[in-house]
Structure formats: C-alpha cells, structure tokens
C-alpha cells in the first residue's frame, strides 16, 4: 500500500459551483422517486389527453375541457389547469421540498460540507439542481400534453375565453406562453419547498409545505375575498394565464401575479439561505428549526402578503370582488358575438361580423334584492343581438356560474334553436352547439368607470 502526502495548496478554495451542481443533479436523478416523476410527466399527459380527446364526454368543468375534441391545443391547457391546481405544487414539494431534508435523513451533511467546503455553494448548487429538475418536469408536462393533443385531434384553431378563434400558429404560441407564465408561481412554490426543507429538516412537514400552502391558498380563493387580496396571493398567478386567451389579453393580473410570485420566490429563497447558513451541523439533536420557523419564515412571508395586498389596493383601480355587472355583461356579449359567428360558420349560414351583430347583455344577480356584484351561480343574463337586414332583435337567456377568480360558465337557457343542445358539424367531427355552454373570463382588474 502506498500513501503519499499532497503538497499543501496555496489556499483553501471551495469546490466550484458547477461541480456541486452536477453532483446534486446526479443525486436527484439517481432517486427512483424523481425518475418515476420524470417518466410520469413526460408520458402520462400525452396518454391522458389522447384518451380523453377521443371520448364523447369531455371534462367541461375544466377551462378549455369542452374544446378537447376540437383542437389538440385544448388538451394541453386542461393539463395546465390541473397542473396549476395540484401537480405543480406537489412536484415542487417532492423535489425542492426534499433536496435539503434528504441529507438529514441520510446523515450526509458533514460529509458534504467537508467535500464542498462552502455552505453557500452547497445551497446554490442544491437550489439550481432542484430548479433544473422542476423545469424538466414542467417541460415534460408541456411537451407531452401538446404531443398527445396534436396526435389525437390535430392542429386546429382554438376557441379563446372570449370566444375568438386563435389560428393554430397563434394557439401554439399562446399555449406555450401560458405554460411559461405558470413557471413564476412554480418558482415561488419551489422556494417555499426549499424553505421548508431547510427549516424543518427531516420532518415530513418540510416536504409538505408547498402542497400545504397550495391547499390553504386554494381554500382562500374559494372565499369572496377582495380582488386585491386575491391578486396578492402567490397562487393567483396559477390562474392568470387564462387572461392570455382573450383579445385584448388580460395582462394586468398576469403581470401582478408574475411580480408577486417572483417576490415570494426571492424572499423564501433568501430566508432559506439565511437559516441554512446559521445552522450548526455538529448539533446531532437538530431536527428542524421548530418554533423558530414562526419568526424566521412565516412572519416575513405573511408580511410580504400584507405588503402585496397594500400595494395592489393602492396602485390598481379594482375594488371589491372585481366581478361587477358591467364587466360581466361586456364579457358575455363579446363571447356571444364571437361564438355566434362560429355557430353560423358551422351551420353553413351566411357570415356576419361581430360589429353587425351589436351583441349586448343584461345581467342580474339573484333578483332585485341582491347586489349585482361578486361570484355566484345565480347570475341570469339576457343577450341581445341584431342580424343584418332584420329589424327584430334576437334574445337568448343564459345562467351564469361565476367563480371568485373571474371565470364563468354560461349555460344556455333558451331559445333552444339558438343556445339549446344540438350537434353541429365541425372540421374535427360533430360537436355540441358552441352557444349552448361556454366559458368566459372576467378581468378582475379592469375598470368599468
């Protein structure tokens, strides 16, 4: 056996971040859990979209679900909607929420510190590696869902949330933009995962933090909260991509969601970094920061929520729930006008423009004793329109179910020749009358004054 002494180098230098990053990536990708997640994200959406798109019963309770057998792009948006609700918070929990805790479970912290020589670099390498894996997972969801949809249904125009048709090229760009916009809140949840992983050590609570946060925020979104509060929560950015599918786009909530999400990502990462650098790795009794997490993690994030709400309330014109009668009427009339043209085309009737139709809507919520404002399934609207050369005004009744995030489902209530259920022939096959049931989205920030 020969053992030789190394000459002492000039100075103590930590391992390069690129080496640490590669090591962390190898560790993550060697875990069966991560491999299965990657496999699922790259395969399952394609199978799901392809299978569902070929069914006669579509998931119409999900945005764009009712268009899944009309265009391949709708399936990807259904997957995106589901991902924003559950999959992305869970994926960030399983990757970022465990990237530090796994070293506690394996008892490898000291070993890693001795090897890398820099807690700062360990943190950066771990954060970057988990971010890389999360991006790979999101990329898989995107590519797989698009591929499944296009393979099963084809590259057809997509009906937007204001009823206008997006040509296949536009649909492709907007769908990709929607997926990209979901990355900002994903980053925020990933940062919360890092924070939980650092602060709570091997405790399973650390792993659950992003999922728990998502659950709490989803419950909050069901409540009739003021629009400033809704937009001040990091989860709203998971919904704001819907605004890309109207013309003009509802960019206000999207931009606010982007900024709020990035603020969460930066603050939560900074808090995780601070807690990580202060940890004493020789303390064998360490099992998470426990009570200290209240002060070091929860309080700053709660303060960020308060500041976000204050800034949004002060800087935007929106008040109350953001769902007002005039906005709803405008939105419904616009969607109706666009879909009327689509219906005319599918029924091979003479084309008529939105301007010629002059569609208007009159809405009422819950009768005369209820204020016409806010979410609820008791909105009743009458849409009126004109046909060129005809003096009579057409009327159609809709029941609207409006949710607190601004999305609504309009359900035709007569006359049945206009908005009843019947099949129409489309390039992709038979489909329900487009005026029977459709989705819309109210811009919560838009001003009606």
């Amino acid at each position: 056996m020969t053992v030789t002494l190394a000459q002492p180098p000039a100075g103590v230098r930590p391992a390069p971040i690129s080496h640490g990053y590669r090591f962390e990536l190898v560790k993550l990708l060697s875990q069966w859990r991560i491999r299965l997640l990657l496999l699922a994200c790259w395969i399952a959406p394609a199978l799901f979209v392809a299978a569902v798109s070929l069914q006669t019963s579509l998931p119409s309770d999900t945005v764009f679900g009712r268009w899944m057998n009309s265009t391949g792009w709708a399936g990807s948006l259904v997957v995106l909607d589901f991902a924003c609700t559950w999959a992305l918070p869970l994926l960030t929990a399983l990757v970022a929420g465990d990237v530090f805790a796994v070293e506690d479970r394996l008892g490898t912290w000291r070993h890693l510190l001795v090897a890398v020589r820099s807690p700062q670099r360990i943190f950066v390498a771990k954060a970057l590696a988990s971010l890389t894996v999360i991006l790979l997972l999101v990329a898989g969801l995107t590519a797989s869902s698009v591929a499944g949809g296009l393979a099963a249904v084809g590259n057809h125009p997509l009906v937007g949330l204001d009823g206008h048709l997006l040509a296949p090229g536009d649909a492709a760009g907007t769908v990709l933009l929607a997926w990209l916009s979901a990355l900002a809140p994903t980053l925020a949840f990933a940062a919360v995962g890092l924070l939980g992983s650092v602060a709570l050590g091997r405790s399973p609570m650390g792993l659950l933090m992003p999922a728990l946060l998502a659950l709490v925020l989803q419950l909050a979104q069901l409540l009739p909260l003021p629009v400033a509060v809704q937009l001040g929560l990091p989860s709203h950015a998971f919904l704001a991509w819907r605004g890309l599918f109207t013309d003009p786009g509802q960019t206000g909530p999207l931009l606010i969601g982007f900024v709020v999400s990035l603020a969460w990502a930066v603050l939560a990462t900074a808090l995780a970094y601070r807690i990580f650098l202060r940890r004493d790795f020789t303390d064998l009794t360490f099992d998470g920061s426990g009570r200290q997490i209240l002060v070091t993690a929860v309080v700053p994030l709660a303060a960020l929520v308060a500041v976000s709400i204050g800034v949004i309330a002060g800087a935007t014109p929106a008040t109350g729930s953001g769902i007002e009668r005039a906005k709803l009427q405008n939105s419904l009339a616009t969607v109706y006008g666009h879909l009327y043209r689509l219906q005319a085309q599918e029924l091979h009737r003479p084309d008529v423009t939105e301007a010629q139709l002059q569609a208007t809507a009159s809405c009422d919520k819950g009768g005369s004793r209820v204020l016409d404002e806010g979410a609820g399934n008791d909105w009743r609207c009458v849409v009126s329109w004109h046909l060129p050369g005809a003096t009579a005004v057409g009327n159609a009744i809709y029941q609207l179910d409006v949710t607190a995030d601004g999305r609504y489902v309009a359900d035709g209530d007569g006359p049945k020749e206009v908005n009843g259920y019947f099949q129409v022939r489309t390039p992709a096959g038979d489909a329900p009358n487009p005026l029977w049931q459709f989705d819309g989205n109210v811009d919560l920030l838009a001003s009606t004054s």
């Binding site: 002494l5 190394a6 080496h19 560790k27 394996l106 070993h111």
Partner: protein
C-alpha cells in the same frame, strides 16, 4: 525540518444551548501520530471532531490546525479529511459514483488526487465498486468512508468510530491504511469505543468525560497510572495455581475454584505476577494462557470516566482522574 503540530487546541469551549459539550479542552496531535479519542457517550468526542473538521466554530479558546489558526467562521481547514457520526454516503449511488463525485468536488483545490480505484483498492472494496451503496453492510460503508477520506491524501485525518461493524478482514484493511498514512506523516485522530483497536493503533490517547479532558498522553503512561490490573491465567493444574497465587506476596485471587477453561483471575502489580509465573514453572504447572482481563486503556477509561460506580466512588474517581490528568500534562510539558 520543524513541522507544526497537526492539531493544537487550548481551552476549547462549545455549548449547545444550556448543554456544555466541551468545557476547556486542550489537545495536541503531532504529525504522523495516531491519536485516540475516548470517552463515554455524550463526552464531547463528536463535537471535538466536528471542530477539527471545520463543521462548527468553537465558542471559546484557540485552535490551530496544520499550523493555521482556525477563525470564527465556518470553514473546513485545508488538508483535513474524514468523517464524524458515520461516513456520509449516498445509497442510490454506487461506491465508485460516490467517490467519483467527491473527487470531482475536491479536485479543484487539492491538485492531483489519489484515484478512485486506488482508494477502493486500499480499503478492499474493488469487487463491489459498481454496486449501489444501499446494499452495503455497516463495515463496508465504514471502509468506503475511509476511501473517501483518502481521495484527498490528507495531512490530518479525522475518523469517528471507523471500526464500527468491521469484520476481521475489514479491520485489517482499515488498520493497514491508518498505519500507512501515519507512517507517511499524516496525523490521524480517531474516536472509538473499541479499546483493542485504540491500543493497537494509537500512540497517544485523550480521554474525555462530560466535555473535559481527564487524561491525555501516551498509552504507556496510562498503563502505568492504571495501577493494579486483573489477569486471567489458564494452567494445567488450576488447584495448584490457586494455591500458589494465594501464597504469592502482593497478589490477590479475585476468583477461585474455577473450571479449567475459564481460568484463574488474580489482581496485583506486574512484579508480583512475574513472581507467580516463576513459582508456577517451579512447581511444574504448565501456563497455557496469561493476559489482562481488560486492557490498561479500558481499565483507565473505566476509572477515569467513573463508569458503573456509585456517586461517592464517582466523585473519588473524578478527583483521582483530574490529578492523573494534571500530572500527565505536567509530565508531558516537562518532557518537551
């Protein structure tokens, strides 16, 4: 050429909240020396090893590692390798992948490193180099941890319980590696509860109890200070041996009338034992086995750390221990 000591610690203190892990610890480890760290559970061994590895910063005192003062910020000193609280290995990676990743992390600052294959060969794990660590036994993990430490060709090697779970062959590998490193000038500080390992490997030991040094010095000095030891004799005529032991001045029979296979246990100083051997030979009694019931190190450990004794005796033992430790240090300083 004068080489600075690998470790020079003076008055090191470290607390975790209200728990004092180290209360004024002094430690000197010369280059090329294998230094044992002994103490009961909770004595502060792991904390001290963690400080040497740069995993934590002492609350007080001064610490020099390889001639460089350790500052107040977390930093792993250069030329130092090893592990505390078990080797950190990733079960989802193979042995080779574990080492390759470490080599990649360390290559930047250590210049040419011993190759992964060399390190695996030194600890006898070449055959399982491409197996996932998940299936490794504790002993194999220990050896792989040692291989990981070898990658940097360290000048100070810190090992926490390196003999845990080792089979005889694995133990031989580890002993050979440690002795080889020491022969080439590497200082090795190792903690262990295996007194036979420490006695076989270490030239000096430090005994810790409740965060304080109760003895530090050469093993020989410890043996001298451990006083009378118990020895077990196996002879061809147990009855005659018992009679002769009883008659030997300065020797006391601890157990008697024993079956031949368990032997006779006597207590006394070494000269009295020598006298007994002479008498046994003179009486024509064959001596088949003679050895201490416990090693001097183990005896000293039990005495100095007051293990398994009552409160009064514990106080007495601590007083004796501090006296012994003080005397040992004075002697050591005089000898420099």
């Amino acid at each position: 050429m004068h080489r600075p000591p690998a470790v020079r610690a003076r008055g090191i203190t470290k607390s975790f909240g209200e728990v004092i892990a180290l209360g004024g610890v002094d430690l000197d480890v010369a280059s090329g020396q294998v230094h044992g760290l002994v103490g009961p559970n909770g004595a502060g061994k792991t904390t001290l090893l963690g400080l040497l590895l740069g995993l934590a910063v002492a609350d007080g005192g001064s610490l020099e590692i390889l001639g460089t003062p350790v500052g107040r910020t977390l930093a792993v000193p250069d030329g130092v390798a090893g592990f505390v609280d078990g080797p950190g290995l990733y079960p989802s990676l193979t042995a080779r992948q574990n080492l390759a990743a470490l080599a990649s992390l360390r290559r930047y600052d250590t210049g040419p490193t011993a190759s992964v294959d060399d390190a695996l060969e030194q600890v006898g794990l070449t055959d399982v180099a491409d197996d996932r660590v998940r299936g490794f036994s504790l002993g194999m993990r220990q050896r792989l941890g040692l291989a990981a430490a070898l990658l940097t060709t360290p000048r100070l090697l810190i090992l926490d319980e390196p003999a845990n779970g080792l089979d005889p062959a694995g133990k031989r590998h580890v002993h050979r590696v440690i002795s080889g490193l020491a022969a080439n000038g590497t200082a090795v500080v190792l903690s262990s509860h295996r007194m036979d390992d420490l006695a076989a490997l270490c030239s000096e030991v430090t005994i810790l109890a409740t965060g304080r040094v109760v003895f530090s010095g050469p093993l020989g000095k410890l043996a001298a200070e451990s006083g009378e030891l118990d020895y077990r004799l196996v002879t061809s005529d147990p009855a005659a041996a018992h009679r002769l032991a009883s008659e030997t001045p300065g020797l006391r029979v601890v157990t008697g009338g024993e079956p031949a296979q368990t032997g006779l246990v006597v207590r006394g100083p070494e000269p009295a034992l020598d006298e007994l051997v002479v008498r046994l030979v003179g009486a024509g009694v064959a001596l088949r086995e003679l050895g201490p019931v416990m090693t001097p190190l183990e005896a000293a450990f039990l005495a100095l750390t007051a293990t398994d004794v009552g409160p009064e005796a514990e106080t007495e033992a601590r007083t004796e221990a501090r006296t012994a430790a003080g005397a040992a240090q004075i002697d050591e300083e005089n000898s420099r």
